[in-house]
Every structure is written in C-alpha cells, then in structure tokens.
C-alpha cells in the first residue's frame, strides 16, 4: 500500500485507468452488439471514441474547477448536503450494479465455456476478494493493476491475423449501406462497451498533472478504440452478417480460427486470460463504490470496502427474478452511464451559475 502523496497518478496511470475502465466485458460481445450495422460496423468504434472524447471535455472542465474534490464532494458542494447525498447514493448504486453486471457477464461466459460442471460461487467469491485486495492498496494500486492487465492481454491482437487471412477482405469496404436507425441502435448497444471513462470524475483529484489530464485520458480512449476497431475489423472480414448477429461471443469464434501446431482451442486460454481485463474494470468500479459509501457515511471507515462485497454477491447470486435482472443489467447500467455523462454538463452549468451569483454578491 502506497501512502505517499495525495496526488499520485502519473500520466501512464491515467492512460491505463481509462483503458482499464472501458475495456472489459464489452470487447467480447462488441461485434454482436454492433451487428445492426452489418459490414459497416468497424466505423462505429471510431464514432464511439469521438463521442467519448467529446463527453470527456465537460468532465475535465468541471474537475479542473475543483482540483481537490471528487464528484461525490462536488455534488455536496453544489447541491447542498441532502440533495448531494441522494445523488451520491444513486451513483454508488450505479457503481454496484455496473460491477455486478461485469462479474456476472464474465462468470456466465466461464460457466458456458470453461467450467460447465462447476458452480460459479467459488470463482465469484475469489474474484470479489481479489478486487478488494487490489482496491485496498488505493487508486494507485488499481492503476498499476490496470497497466498489467493491458499489457498481459493487448498482445492477443497479434492473433487477429488468422481471421484476416481466412476471411474475405472485400467485406471491409465502406459501403455505408445502413439506415439512421441501424446506426443509432448499434451506437446505443455499443456504448455499453464504451462506458468506464467517466470514472475519471472520481479519480481526477489524485492526478499529478491535472492540466494535461485531458490529453492523457484521450490517449487512453483511443488506445482502447484501436483495440475495439481491430476486433470489429477482423470480425467484419471473418464473419458473415448472419453470424455476427447470431453469435453471442463473436470474439471467441474469432479466436477459434487460430491455428497453431502445438495447441488447439486456444480460446480456452484466452477466456481465462480475460480475467485481467475484467478485474481491472471490476477493481475500478469497486473503488468507485467504496468511495461512494464513504461519502454517504457520517464517519468514513475503510470497512465500507468489505460492506460492498456481500451486496454484489447477493446481486449476482441472490434470488432476483429474471425480468428485474434484465432491467438492472441491461437498462439501468446504460442509462446510468448516460446520466453520469450528462450530469457532468449539468454540474458544470450549476457551477457557472453559482460562480456568477457569488461574483455578484461579492460586487
């Protein structure tokens, strides 16, 4: 545990925290999510990246006005203690649901592919404890883990050569044969995989070089976008439109096309390796949730971290009816993400209103 300076995140930490927050479960299902675009889907990651980069702008602007406060504290400052706390509770709830969604999605994948005969309760508990272990070291530990997660998984992009060799490169031609609704639907479903960069609202005060944070965060977004784009491009080349819209985890089928002489079915290994990406997202969300609980409590304690774990366990393994699950994990998370993006803009307005009012009072 590093208990050094308050501002402890250097440029690489920022880049890979952004990357770790975004890349997680989404990359496995991305070609399926964007399938309404057909063969033009490789355009979507570029547009997603652009939108995310634009959305980043008001966030950094807001945070630069409060260089020592995270969003939980900014909420209470701008909205007053009561309303601020209510919003904080909502954000904490969002973090917990998003975290449950990531772990639940990954463990479902594990159960269907790697361990069909095992209960997922064990891996779930271990993953939760491991995330708690990482989060206990503070945001810097999360960032360092995200860097490791990136480098341990990013090299798999090398294997995209097999699908490209085996596929039909003509699919890649930009024909623009899609409607506006196709695009909006793909954008909406794809934005799931894009969420995660907005957590910078919460770790911004720990960044050392806050003036250049926007640049570093943008680099983080575009590194992730390049990976997304590579995945989409190789699936466009490899799959047919029907396959893309019917395969739940197209990336696994992409990996199945890899042919090596000494091992077969390497996707088994890659699914397991994916735990690094899942964990870096999960750790960041867990860090967010425990910060939220600390901001709600009157006397913040470090135990709030362990308080989150049973809630997430119950969210995933508890007796929740299926339709509520769909609502929680498919609707609430994405609209929560939109809300956080908009919330930064709303708060920025509130901030300017408050500033001009205070300016008038002073004059």
């Amino acid at each position: 545990m590093d208990k050094g300076n308050y501002q402890k995140l250097n440029q690489y930490h920022v880049i890979f925290l952004i990357n770790g927050g975004i890349a997680g479960l989404g990359i496995l299902t991305l070609p399926n999510d964007l399938s309404s675009m057909g063969f033009n889907q490789w355009l979507v990651p570029l547009i997603l990246g652009l939108v995310a980069n634009l959305a980043l702008f008001p966030m950094i602007k807001l945070c630069s006005n409060y260089p020592k406060n995270n969003l939980y504290e900014i909420n209470e400052k701008l909205l007053g203690p009561l309303l601020g706390k209510i919003i904080n509770i909502l954000i904490t709830g969002y973090a917990i649901i998003a975290l449950s969604r990531v772990l639940r999605g990954y463990l479902t994948l594990i159960q269907t592919t790697l361990l069909p005969q095992k209960s997922i309760i064990g891996p779930l508990i271990i993953l939760l404890l491991l995330s708690a272990y990482v989060v206990k070291g503070g945001i810097k530990s999360v960032a360092r883990f995200a860097i490791l997660g990136f480098f341990l998984t990013a090299w798999t992009i090398y294997f995209s050569q097999w699908p490209i060799i085996n596929g039909d490169v003509r699919n890649f031609l930009p024909l623009f044969n899609f409607t506006r609704n196709d695009f909006l639907y793909a954008f909406h479903r794809g934005y799931f995989s894009m969420l995660g960069y907005e957590i910078i609202l919460f770790y911004f005060p720990y960044i050392m070089d806050q003036k250049r944070a926007f640049k570093h965060a943008s680099i983080g977004i575009w590194i992730t976008m390049f990976l997304y784009w590579a995945v989409c491009a190789s699936s466009v080349v490899y799959f047919s439109i029907w396959q893309m819209s019917h395969l739940r985890y197209p990336v696994l089928s992409l990996l199945k096309s890899i042919q090596l002489s000494f091992v077969e079915r390497v996707e088994n290994f890659f699914i397991a390796l994916w735990v690094f990406l899942i964990l870096s997202t999960a750790c960041l969300l867990l860090w967010l949730a425990q910060k939220g609980i600390k901001s709600i409590l009157k006397k913040p304690t470090d135990l709030s971290l362990y308080g989150v774990l049973p809630i997430i366990f119950l969210m995933i393994k508890g007796p929740i009816p299926n339709r509520y699950e769909v609502f929680l994990y498919e609707n609430l998370t994405i609209y929560g993400g939109y809300f956080l993006n908009l919330w930064a803009i709303i708060l920025l307005f509130l901030h300017y209103i408050k500033q001009t009012r205070e300016g008038k009072e002073a004059a």
């Binding site: 790697l114 361990l115 360092r144 077969e264």
Partner: protein, 501 residues
Amino acid sequence: MWFRGWINNIANNKKTSLQEESFNPNAKGEVSKEAIVAYLQDVDDALIKDISVGKGSATIVYIKSLVKMEILQELVITPLNTFENQDDPEEVLKISEKLAFDELPKLIEGVMSGLCIIIFYDRKSIYTIDTFSPPVRNLTSSESESTVLGPQEAFIEALESNFSLIKKRIRNPNLKTKVLLLGTETRNSVGVLYIRGIANQENVQRVLYRLRNIEFMGFGGTAVLKQMLEDKPYSPFPQFGITQRVDAAVSALLDGRIVIFLNGSPEAAICPTSFFEMFVSPEDYYNRWTTASLLRSLRFFGFFATIMLTPLYVSVLTYHPEVLPSTLLSLLMESRTKVPFPPVIEVLIIELVIEVLREAGARMPTKIGQTIGIVGGIVIGTAAVDAGLASNILIVLVAISALLSFLPPNFLMSNGSRFIRYFFILAAALYGFLGQMIALAWLLAHLANLTSLGSPYMTPVIPRSATDLLDSVLRAPINFFIKRKGISRSKKELTRPTDEE
C-alpha cells in the same frame, strides 16, 4: 494485523518487562573492583588482576576469549613495562581512551566488547585500550553465489573485514559507514554503508530510522535483521536484496543503494531492491551482453515457468484436455493409464517428493548428499513410474520446474517461487485455466502493491525511468549505462558525462 495485537496480549499477561532485566550502558555507577567482580561473576573467561605498574599498582580487566595474547602483550603489557612513575599513563598508552570513575556500566560494556581496561586507583583514572581480536575466518569464495568470472572473495563473519573488503574497492571519503549497536541483549554492531551524494538521503534516513526503532533481543544473521526492516513482513517475497559477494555490494553502493551489515554474519542486505533485481547476478556484467541477455531472460521467464508448468499439467488434464493436439494428448493419456490418482494428487505427491529430496540434500553432510541425488533421481523417479504412481511426463515437468526454481541468484526468491507454486497447483485443481489466471492476477497484484524502502517493488511493464530498460531482461552493452536505476532515486543520475565537457 489483528493477530499481532493478540500476540502482544499474550505476552503482556506474563508480567515481565524487557526494560528491567536488560543491561543499560548509559546508566551511572561507581567503579570499584568489587563492583566489577560482581558484574563479571560466573564469567569465567574474564580476567581481573592487580598488577604493579612502575611503583604504583593497577587493576587490569579483559575477557580472555576476546583478546589475543600477542595483541595484549604488544598494546598493553610492553608499554606498561616502560612506565616509570611519569605524570600520566597516557604517555605510554598512546591509543588509549579515558573513562570517568562513575561510568561502571560503560566499562563493563567495553570489557564485553573486547577492550582491555586498566584502573589506576592512586591516580583515580581508568584507561581503555582496544584489544579486540577474536578468531576470524579466512576469506573464501562464496559457495551460495558462485560465479566463473569476477572477484571471488566473499564477505565473512567480521564487520571490520567486510568494511575493508568494500573500502579497498571504493577509495572515496564519501563512502559513509554508520555503525549502530543493536539488540537489547546482544548489543552487536550493525553497519550501514552508503555513498553520500549518490544515495538518496531520504532513503538513508529511513533505514537509520527503522534501525533505531528495532527493539529485539538479538539477531542470528543479517536475514533476521532484514526481515525486521522490510516493508511487508507477511509477504512470501524478499523485499531487500541479500548477497555475500563483494562485487554485488559494491555495484549496489555505486548505484545509490544502501548496504547493511550485521557483525557476525557474512551477508549484506541491499535496499531498496526491485523485483527484477532478484534475478540479476553480478556475472551478467562480466559476460558479453548477448549472453547476459539470454541468461537473464531464462531466469526471469523461468520464474513464471516454474510456477506455471505443473499447474498447467493439472488444469489441462482435469478441465481442458481439448487444448492438446491428439498426438500429444494420447501420449499423455498412455503415460497416465496406470496412475490411480487424479492429476492434482499425483502432482502434489511428486512435487513434495522433490521438495523432500532438496531439503534432505541440503541438510545432509556433503559426502552423503551425492548418494541422495542418485537415490532420489534414479530410484524414486524410475520406480515411481514403473510402479504406476506417477506418469513419465509429470516426472519430466516436475524436474524441469524444480531446476527452473533454482535459477534466481537470490536464494530467498528461489524459495518463494517454490512456495507459491503450491497455490497455483491448488488453483488449477479448483478452476483450471481460470484458477491459474486468478492466481497469477493475485500474485501480480501483490507484487505491484509491495514496496522496498517505500519505493515500488515492481514497475508494471512501464519502467520508472526509460534507461532502466537497458539493464532489464535485455542487458545492453556497458556503454549504454549512462543513468542510475530509477529505484535508487539518486540525486546524481548520470554515471558518466554524456557530452564532451
């Protein structure tokens, strides 16, 4: 941690206080022969004798086992014989120091550290002469860190010899040697070496602060002292380097590290040290850079191979047989046809057998050690396969991973890798590939959280300063080394001028 409080509670229930019984050299006490005799009661190798000096008389006190007769003769007896009632005994005892008459505990401490003490009652003065000359082992080469090239002499169990081994290589007044007395009972000397201007002063202060705050009866060796200084004592990995080699200590000093010696222990602790440096041998710098790079990558990736190889066997056979091509799978299955255990039990048995062999070899007298190798390697290995207790392939894998675990030059890191391998085997048995990856994630998260003297122990791929990459798995040619390592946080970064000045 909660159990530390629990242990303290148990200790406090027994009503003993450390302070009451231990010896405090800074207390006051009147010197008299009776008092000295009382202190040194039952210390039968102490010599307390009245002698006549010139026309007066004096008392001489020393410990026979700490003082050689020749030294005593040369430094004390011969000068005293020339003493004929001059004004001051200091005229003949030139290198002596004076003690006051109320410093009895200090006198006793001096006696116990090998000083010879002469008390002149009629002059009311006490003189101490450093006659400390215990038996010292000869300089030999290090057995645990042997290299083909390079200086062969290694540290020995005497602090002064170790200092001189370093100082004859670094003739620089900036090489500072702080000596502290540590251990509430032993009061043994601990030396802290660093080069002022190169070592980070913050690090030096931190080491001295930690050393001064240790309250413990005494240390069996540097490794014990090192564990009390380390940032995370619960971790299975060493956070400070430890070496017996002089060249390793010298290059660490030149890089801005701090070297800690304990008198009576032939090892030096080097701090701060990074995870990667546990895999670096001084011989890497004597080899050509190509060979050194090859060997370093073997050692570094060997660490990950040794903790992954046998777990891979377990998880492939238990959960994912489909990853193997059919030829390899049939080979594996044929060799396992007679084995009556699940893979994890089989692996655990053979791993434990290897560990038992290693431990037996280490504890046994050297002459029997070779026999053990033959018994273990041939008899147990072949017989186990013939009896159907283990598969051929497993024996190969276990042997390879055992060999790989001995690659790190740091003995503690090599032990650590063998310990955590069992966790990987169990994780593989529980959840296959996923278990292995979770265990690896846990290992990396743990390593990323460790610190060595407050500096991060491991950098996650991106180095602390870009020049560190030139001395990492790739060992660049020597003229590429222009900066000290990032982990030293040295104020003087450059090791040579970079332009023509």
